[in-house]
């Protein structure tokens, strides 16, 4: 007979790692199921230059097609051939996933922001969509708890639309970031250091950052937050956690009393099906995978009495931006610029209150900016000319590179954006895959166009020289086709064009939280309305995207959900 656990956690990403740690520390016997392989940060992650790599970053035979990511980090990404998904005609959506111990926490960009009440309660203000079933005050203690433990470097500023957290010291600004900050000051726009889950002082046995800039390839010392660097070790130390990697969850099994009985998973290599039971089941396999599991577990979807499961899929709005050079920096001395992979943040400036309300769109967006040296001069092939003079020009611009991008624009929730099981396509293990239906609305486009104007204004103010633009959603000046003469740098800042919004790998929604079980799948503790011993951690609960990076909020929701679970276990309501 299968061992009986107190809790099964499906997935070991940012949310699963947190849940496993909290529950194991509270004395629960926890089983973590992870579809991907184990990862050891000091053995698996190393500093490499492009010239160290056999294929200069482009990957082993076939990998370019098969894996997301690069030659450096494909191992912590995902095999697309084993894990396909489909899209409806007209949908352009790139679902960026990772299957390994730690999930995307191993290569994420670490930006960690708190959401504010103007986002949680946006529907009450402008009448669109649904409020969150909680407010900032409910989540604040959990933001505190998560930040204290994972370590977030940042500066307290007192901006009402960008709540402060518990911060480690900031990472200093490089020259380009300093110039952009000065430009914002003269425009009277607020700015702050990009808030990052990266240590600037030692914390809980983890060393501080050494500013190598390798974060997206995995941090060799664990200075950035990941499950592997931060939550897994204390969880394992309790002796209460068992981790099974290479175990692909296929469905949640139910008993006769409308309770989750456990999980059925498939051994990745042998394809043997295994049943495990527990008193509580927690899905933390990432937003869309969680919803896929609910859809797989019962006809019409498990915990779907509201009929909203799969619907209101969201991602923050991306696209546009400006790339170019800051003439002030041209020809300057070499310096370490990209070693923290950071930048500055300009909090949202629109639709915060009556004064900033806009007529052409609702909700807002956050801007990031940075610049300086990078490990490959993307602009070089498009720079006209050749010879020693050309080489000098490439060098002179190398330290003067600059870019402004949208950190997250709020996308409006619409029911017609949804995921369902594809009736035909199955993954490597024979499990039906997701089919994604996703599009943007006029408000999304108007918001992106406004961002573009603002980004160009900032770039102009900083004295920037933008490069000419290519592609419908490429940033201004990003050389879409390297070497094509039309991507050559130009002195004129291009006017805003008709931009096509894209996603930014901040997918949320599809099992939104609601006060009433009629309106959503989850309650404010990420517990399903329908099944008391089934919780869903990830971005599923988000009724709206807000304009902040989402992961810190997902983790705070998971922390709050764990508290609720432990209370319920004590009072025997689960």
């Amino acid at each position: 007979m299968a061992v009986k656990y107190d809790a099964i956690v499906v997935g070991s990403g940012a949310c699963g790692g947190w849940a496993a740690m909290e529950l194991a520390q509270a004395g629960m016997k926890v089983l973590m199921l992870e579809a991907g392989s184990p990862v050891d940060q000091s053995a698996d992650f190393h500093h490499t230059f492009l010239y160290d790599l056999k294929f200069r970053g482009r990957g082993e035979p076939g990998f370019l097609r098969r894996y997301s990511g690069s030659e450096r980090n494909y191992r912590i990404m995902l095999d697309n051939e084993e894990n396909p998904y489909t899209t409806s005609p007209g949908t352009v959506y790139r679902w960026s996933r990772s299957r390994c111990l730690g999930g995307r926490s191993l290569h994420w960009a670490r930006a960690s922001d708190r959401m504010a009440d103007y986002e949680f309660k946006a529907a009450s203000r402008d009448g669109y969509g649904m409020d969150w079933a909680l407010s900032y005050a409910d989540l604040k203690p959990y933001y505190d708890r998560v930040e204290r433990f994972i370590g977030v470097s940042g500066a307290a500023e007192g901006f009402p639309q960008f709540p402060d957290g518990i911060f480690l010291p900031v990472m200093p600004l490089n020259c380009a970031e300093t110039i952009f900050t000065a430009a914002c000051k003269s425009l009277n726009w607020p700015t702050t250091h990009r808030r990052l889950a990266q240590l600037t002082t030692p914390l809980n046995g983890r060393p501080p950052c050494h500013y190598c800039g390798n974060c997206v390839n995995g941090c060799d010392v664990g200075a950035m937050f990941s499950t592997v660097s931060t939550t897994l070790r204390p969880a394992l130390k309790t002796g209460n956690l068992e981790v099974r990697t290479d175990s692909v969850a296929a469905q949640v099994r139910m008993n006769n009393e409308n309770r989750a009985q456990g999980v059925t998973y498939i051994e990745r290599f042998t394809r043997r099906s295994v049943d495990v039971d527990a008193r509580i089941v927690i899905l933390a396999a990432s937003t869309l995978e969680n919803t896929r599991l609910l859809l797989l577990s019962q006809k019409e979807g498990l915990a779907n009495s509201s009929g909203t499961l799969g619907h209101y899929m969201l991602d923050q709005i991306g696209g546009g931006g400006v790339i170019g050079f800051l003439p002030k920096l041209k020809g300057g001395p070499s310096r370490l610029d990209d070693g923290k992979s950071a930048g500055i943040t300009i909090p949202n400036l629109v639709n915060i209150d009556a004064r900033t309300a806009r007529k052409d769109f609702i909700r807002g967006y956050v801007i990031n900016a940075t610049g300086g040296q990078s490990e490959y001069p993307l602009y070089a092939a498009s720079l006209p000319g050749f010879g020693s003079e050309w080489k000098k020009e490439v060098r002179s611009r190398f330290v003067a590179q600059a870019r402004v991008w949208i950190a997250g624009g709020e996308m409006l929730a619409r029911k017609e954006n949804f995921v369902e099981l594809d009736p035909e396509v199955k993954d490597h293990w024979g499990i039906p895959v997701l089919k994604i239906h996703f599009s943007h609305c006029d408000n999304d486009r108007a918001l992106l166009a406004h961002f573009q104007q603002t980004a160009e204004e900032l770039f102009r103010k900083a004295g920037g020289e933008a490069m000419a633009m290519t592609g419908p959603s490429a940033p201004v000046g990003f050389p879409g086709a390297p070497g094509s003469p039309d991507a050559a740098p130009s002195k004129t800042t291009p006017a805003a064009r008709k931009l096509t919004p894209s996603g930014v790998i901040h997918e949320v929604g599809t099992a939104r939280m609601s006060v009433s079980p009629r309106d959503g799948v989850l309650n404010a503790f990420c517990q399903t309305h329908d099944i008391p011993n089934l919780y869903v951690f990830g971005g599923n609960a988000f009724p709206s995207t807000g304009d902040k990076h989402p992961t810190l909020t997902m983790m705070a929701l998971a922390a709050r959900g764990c508290d609720h679970m432990l209370e319920s276990v004590k009072s025997r309501t689960v």
Partner: protein, 203 residues
């Protein structure tokens, strides 16, 4: 059809599955690593690297010896060795040759494009010219890149093609990114250096 850098590399990656490709890649990597060992141990941020042994005696595998010599010379005009290393130290022509060779029979279009490129240079008299003549020839071919109003010669496409791949091969090499650009990232540091320039704090 112009082939993007990405496409060329995709071909290379498929092609490297061939035994010839694997052999070349492994030797190439050894050479790159022996160069990078110097990078990590030394404090020098510039200076030309001596050619790894196997490249010094490298027989071209895709191009004829005559075309390869012309290509080498072309890449060295595009990115010359001056106070900092150039295409010669980065072995840009070698990189292009082995990519095309490794494609085997997978990508006849790209291979043909490169053959045509070299033919158009041959037709323009590049192969038989003196080094000085070659320089002014490249300047003439390249002129429409700076001034699109100028008429493009048949060799203009060859120029763009060779430039694109040379730039990639160069700035992904140690000679290019460290030697020529003095890139300071990807290192171990005690702290992150703040901007200390008063003029950057004011607009």
């Amino acid at each position: 059809m112009t082939v993007s850098r990405r496409t060329l590399l995709e071909w290379a990656i498929r092609a490297s599955a061939t035994p010839a490709g694997i052999h070349f890649f492994s030797r190439w990597t050894e050479a790159a690593q022996s160069q990078s060992a110097t990078a990590h141990s030394g404090t020098s941020h510039s200076g030309a690297q001596s050619a790894p042994d196997f490249l010094a005696t490298y027989p071209p595998q895709f191009f004829s010896a005559r075309d390869f010599a012309a290509l080498e010379s072309f890449t060295q005009i595009l990115i010359p060795t001056d106070e900092t290393p150039g295409a010669r130290e980065a072995h840009c022509a070698h990189f292009v040759d082995f990519l095309l060779h490794s494609m085997g029979t997978l990508s006849p279009d790209t291979q043909q494009q490169w053959r045509d490129a070299l033919s158009s240079l041959e037709a323009a008299g590049f192969h038989d010219s003196s080094p000085e003549q070659r320089k002014s020839m490249v300047a003439k071919i390249a002129a429409p890149e700076l001034d699109p109003a100028l008429e493009k010669s048949p060799a203009f496409a060859a120029y763009l093609l060779i430039k694109r791949e040379t730039v990639f091969a160069f700035y992904t090499s140690r000679a290019g990114i460290i030697g020529a650009l003095d890139y300071r990232g990807n290192t171990y540091n005690v702290s992150f250096p703040a901007c200390t320039h008063p003029e950057h704090h004011e607009i």
